[in-house]
Subunit: 288 residues, 2 copies
């Protein structure tokens, strides 16, 4: 795969920082420019080797970029995508790492420059931690990345977006934005709601009696509240539908337990276990 020119990363936190580390460790970009609002964090990202240089001026940062990757919180992402689309070279590819896609893709698509250069993306990898200091060059290795092209997405940009995300080690999937949002509401947003609801249910003074099931089941409740509140609000309807499904599962469990019916509890558990056993790395042949 050819070496890319300059790549601008807008928002150099855990995700943006990991993209920078991956690009630089693989030697896949001529230069990686970090763009952000907080100079201290940008300096740290540079010190960590995630970016070659940085600026707090987005227009300046994307001026010579072949690709701009926008990794800011979903509540701010459209604005940042449009700045990159308008200030970058005509040939720029703008892509993002937002956890929701429908509203972002729709709003960007209403802008002529946005429409001409944007391909929505969501690399499905992360952590409950924040900041480039928790970034990892291999964060995307073997992980799925969903691209969300629409009928108006320019085919050349789509192809470049495929190359870019695959170059970071991702297995690339493509869905329309609404389909992405429905699926991710179940596979990612619901597990986050559940982790926080579980953590919220258990008083801290009981925690000496908690072990692995609690530890793992609540891990992501340590993630950032504003980030996740933003995702839930962006993806409100699909998240509520995912919650309906989950509550129906709980209702089945409750009914079986109230009926004191071990046989039904075993069936209920085994159905869930059957799902879980099919979890593993994404398949090698990709429905791209």
């Amino acid at each position: 795969m050819r070496r890319q020119g300059e790549i601008a990363i807008i928002g150099v936190g855990l995700i943006g920082g990991s993209i920078g580390l991956a690009l630089r460790s693989k030697g896949r970009a001529k230069r990686v420019v970090g763009i952000g609002r907080d100079r201290g964090r940008l300096e740290e990202a540079k010190r960590l080797g995630a970016i070659d240089d940085f600026t707090t001026d987005p227009a300046e940062g994307v001026a010579e970029a072949e690709i701009a990757v926008v990794c800011t919180p979903v509540t701010r992402i459209v604005e940042d995508i449009l700045v990159a689309a308008r200030s970058g070279p005509d040939s720029i590819l703008v892509t993002d790492a937002g956890s929701t896609k429908s509203r972002i893709v729709e709003e960007v698509g209403r802008d002529p420059r946005g429409r001409a250069c944007f391909v929505g993306a969501h690399p499905i990898a992360g952590s409950e931690r924040q900041g480039a200091a928790h970034g990892r060059a291999d964060l995307f290795e073997g992980r799925s990345c969903v691209l969300t092209p629409t009928p108006i997405t320019p085919p050349d940009r789509l192809e470049r977006a495929r190359q870019f995300w695959a170059g970071l080690g991702c297995r690339v999937f493509e869905f329309d934005p609404a389909e992405h949002d429905r699926r991710l509401a179940l596979t990612s947003h619901l597990p986050h709601v559940v982790a926080a609801a579980l953590a919220g249910s258990i008083d801290p003074d009981l925690l000496p009696l908690a072990a692995g099931a609690y530890r793992d089941g609540t891990r992501v409740a340590e993630a950032d509240a504003a980030l996740w509140a933003g995702i839930f609000v962006e993806n409100r309807r699909p998240v509520l539908e995912a919650l309906d499904r989950f509550e129906a599962q709980l209702a089945d469990f409750r009914e079986a337990l109230e009926a004191d019916d071990p046989g039904r509890l075993v069936e209920w558990w085994d159905a869930a276990k059957g799902h879980r056993r099919r979890f593993g790395p994404p398949p090698d042949s990709l429905p791209v």
Copy 2:
């Protein structure tokens, strides 16, 4: 701490096997005898170094035991405790590793021999895996173990039970059986219900789009269905109450999201996160 005499382990699976490995690796018992119904599994446990010898006859297995530890599923545990209490020497200490305590302690307490030698225990450690092959000598190191003495528990047996579980590396807590069950319904049984309900909510064909939150949030759904159905039925009322608390958390989330209120979502999340941040190894000074 003094070296103990012969120790009988009834049920040599993940927990029983780990107890055997710990006892033998620490040289804390003169001899460790495994007791079970499946000769193949007992042979494997011996090969793995978890026991010195084995028998499928419980009466024979406990005949010279200083301590018998019963690690069978909660649905069978009372029966196994009583066999050990009746067939062991007068001086035997019988303790167990059952995940629930009220019914077990109550039923054993109705038997004169049971009452004379039993101290209920629950070492809070485990895994979604089964069998001695997944056992680990350090499974209990630094983990909490709850003893559930009652006013009729003989003080000398209680003291010996403290020594035994502390000798395996556990930090020993004491609660009455009902209090244990209420607390564990929240810290362990609820997280298991939630993991299975989450796994059950997500169709396997979506799993290529799942990542760490799903992986960790559903891990324990791979545990054994019959084992957990038994625990839920044993601890029905406290589990249903824990589920009430959890569903109230979900209802708060739903209300905030339906109201499209990011501020309330942030507050909700931060309260949960505040709980989670207090999770860690049990304190050094123990409320024994």
